[in-house]
């Protein structure tokens, strides 16, 4: 019997025409599929490489996507996108051990075209978007991991990727790295400095099955409508936050944890989820849900200041690989930034291919597009938000203070007369240990960051 896996000469000659592309897009997530879709539509030969058995199999997020970025690329996307529920209710909860202060907003407009946010499962959503790229002519290759860059062009220009298959060199004139938060390709290309754990958070979540009617009752939703709860003050000593989203017949409940704090705390992520689920304000919402999938993923939360160099010779970086995830407290968005940056990368790569110049200069349209659009404008404006939001005061002191003030406000202390609100606030601030100058400084920073 012949030896297994022995290679013949023809196996090694994979740099035949079949393995030569105009562009290789690494990662069939939202960024990669958007880039491949744009490139394929412009008539380029594109290989969309995915290491999972199907697009979305390696991907996990909290649960809400804002797909309006697709209006131009896929008009009428809402007719066919695999959406779980349209978010018509957004709430921000501040929790202490036994208090909860919730700001709760609903809009019927968000439940109608063109919609706003939607809950979706990534294995569904990503596979749908990848199928659009395939329909446009991209070649999707799954179960294949890119292991490195081929840098044999003039001046170290990237000329493709190596993969973990025998004879696995994929040649391309341009490589779009959409290989996710750990982006080994961007690191190999030297586009990142040394990774700093302070720039990352860990998201861990449980998907809990519940009947659709129960979800609609508990969250006061109409059929097909969804709720999005962002939660702070639920992660103990660890900076971060929590979330609770409604899918069609399941809930997504989880926590986001700042890595350095998680490392120092010695607490396990699933214990924090259990704590959140047991909080009196959350427990009735998730009661009886049966765990159907547990998952975890890193989030590049550092924003603008952690972004790598976005362009190298023959190479572009997009999506989480370029740290395009926006984690700015009230705004938690990622998929739309991934799609936006992927589209920009696709357009710029197509332009460079058409001009025959894939050097760093030839690809510079990418960064320009991002700076002219929402991707880098939002990120630059909110560049200080991650730092502010992960600070101890915002994480712990302010939720406690807010809850205490509101509790005092609504506690009827007869026969004592009601105190003045100003006095009440001053008293609570004084006893909270928060200094007024810190409060003022944080307010000023918040105003500068979000204003």
């Amino acid at each position: 019997m012949s030896a297994p896996g022995s290679l013949t000469a023809s196996d090694n000659a994979a740099s035949s025409d079949a393995a030569r592309f105009d562009a290789v897009v690494v990662g069939a997530g939202p960024a990669g599929s958007a880039a491949a879709l744009v490139l394929a539509r412009r008539g380029h030969r594109v290989c969309l490489l995915e290491r999972g058995p199907y697009p979305g199999s390696k991907n996990m997020y909290g649960g809400v996507v804002y797909p309006r970025i697709l209006d131009e690329l896929l008009p009428g996307w809402w007719e066919e996108a695999p959406v779980q529920r349209w978010v018509t209710r957004r709430a921000t909860m501040m929790l202490t051990a036994d208090q909860a202060l919730t700001v709760d907003f609903r809009s019927e407009a968000w439940g109608q075209p063109p919609y706003n946010g939607a809950t979706a499962l990534r294995p569904d959503f990503d596979a749908w978007l990848a199928a659009k790229a395939v329909d446009a002519g991209a070649l999707l290759v799954t179960s294949t991991t890119a292991t490195g860059l081929l840098r044999d062009g003039p001046g170290g220009t990237v000329g493709g990727v190596t993969t973990d298959r025998p004879g696995g060199d994929l040649r391309a004139r341009v490589v779009v790295a959409c290989d996710g938060v750990n982006s080994f390709l961007a690191k190999e290309a030297g586009l990142y400095g040394k990774p700093d754990p302070a720039n990352y958070t860990l998201g861990a979540k449980e998907v809990l099955a519940l009947p659709a009617a129960t979800i609609e009752d508990r969250f006061a939703l109409g059929p097909g409508q969804g709720a999005d709860f962002e939660i702070i003050g639920c992660t103990g000593d660890i900076a971060g936050g929590g979330f609770l989203y409604t899918n069609r017949d399941s809930l997504a409940v989880g926590v986001v944890l700042h890595l350095p704090a998680l490392a120092a705390a010695g607490v396990r992520p699933e214990q924090l989820i259990a704590g959140l689920k047991a909080h009196p304000a959350v427990a009735p919402l998730v009661a009886g849900g049966e765990l159907v999938e547990y998952s975890a993923h890193l989030i590049p939360e550092g924003g603008y200041d952690m972004m790598p160099t976005l362009t190298g010779p023959g190479m572009l970086v997009a999506g989480d690989a370029a740290a395009m995830c926006l984690a700015a407290g009230i705004w938690l968005e990622g998929v739309n930034f991934a799609i936006g940056s992927g589209m920009a990368a696709g357009e710029s790569a197509a332009e460079a291919l058409e001009r025959g110049d894939v050097s760093e200069g030839g690809l510079s349209g990418y960064e320009r597009r991002l700076r002219d659009g929402f991707v880098l404008q939002d990120h630059r404006r909110l560049r200080h938000a991650p730092h502010l939001l992960l600070s101890d005061r915002v994480q712990r002191r302010y939720p406690q203070l807010a809850c205490d003030i509101v509790e005092d406000l609504f506690t009827v202390t007869n026969p004592e007369p009601k105190p003045g609100i100003g006095r009440l606030v001053r008293r609570r601030v004084a006893s909270s240990g928060v200094r007024l100058r810190h409060l003022a400084a944080d307010s000023w920073r918040a105003l500068r960051t979000f204003g």
């Binding site: 390696k58 996990m60 179960s143 991991t145 993969t163 973990d164 990774p195 998907v207 699933e270 009886g288």
Partner: protein, 100 residues
């Protein structure tokens, strides 16, 4: 009596059994035991969401790779240079989310 609304307790094994892992023949994580013996923080042990790292009596770390979420937390929280080497598992293998 447990009230009907009490959360159903789930063991860690049952928790991980909800996830589809297609285990590759080769480990995609390697841990340098010698480097770990000098480590006092051992952040990987509690931070790993899949609980893959187990402290040993001799100061080393026993690691599993079969139920890895491929998140990258371990190598980022590790402050001993070169102790944890981490790459992606062979294509088609590893975690395959279905409902996240």
């Amino acid at each position: 009596m447990i009230p009907a609304s009490a959360p159903v307790p789930v063991s860690f094994e049952d928790r991980m059994a909800t996830v589809d892992f297609r285990v590759a023949a080769d480990a995609h994580i390697t841990v340098d035991g010698d480097a770990c013996r000098g480590c006092s923080t051992r952040a990987c042990v509690t931070a790993c969401p899949a609980n893959l790292f187990v402290p040993m009596a001799d100061g080393g770390i026993l690691f599993n790779y079969e139920q890895c979420f491929e998140c990258g937390t371990c190598y980022l929280v590790c402050d001993t240079a070169g102790a944890i080497t981490w790459r992606y598992p062979e294509g088609g293998h590893g975690v395959a989310f279905r409902r996240s």
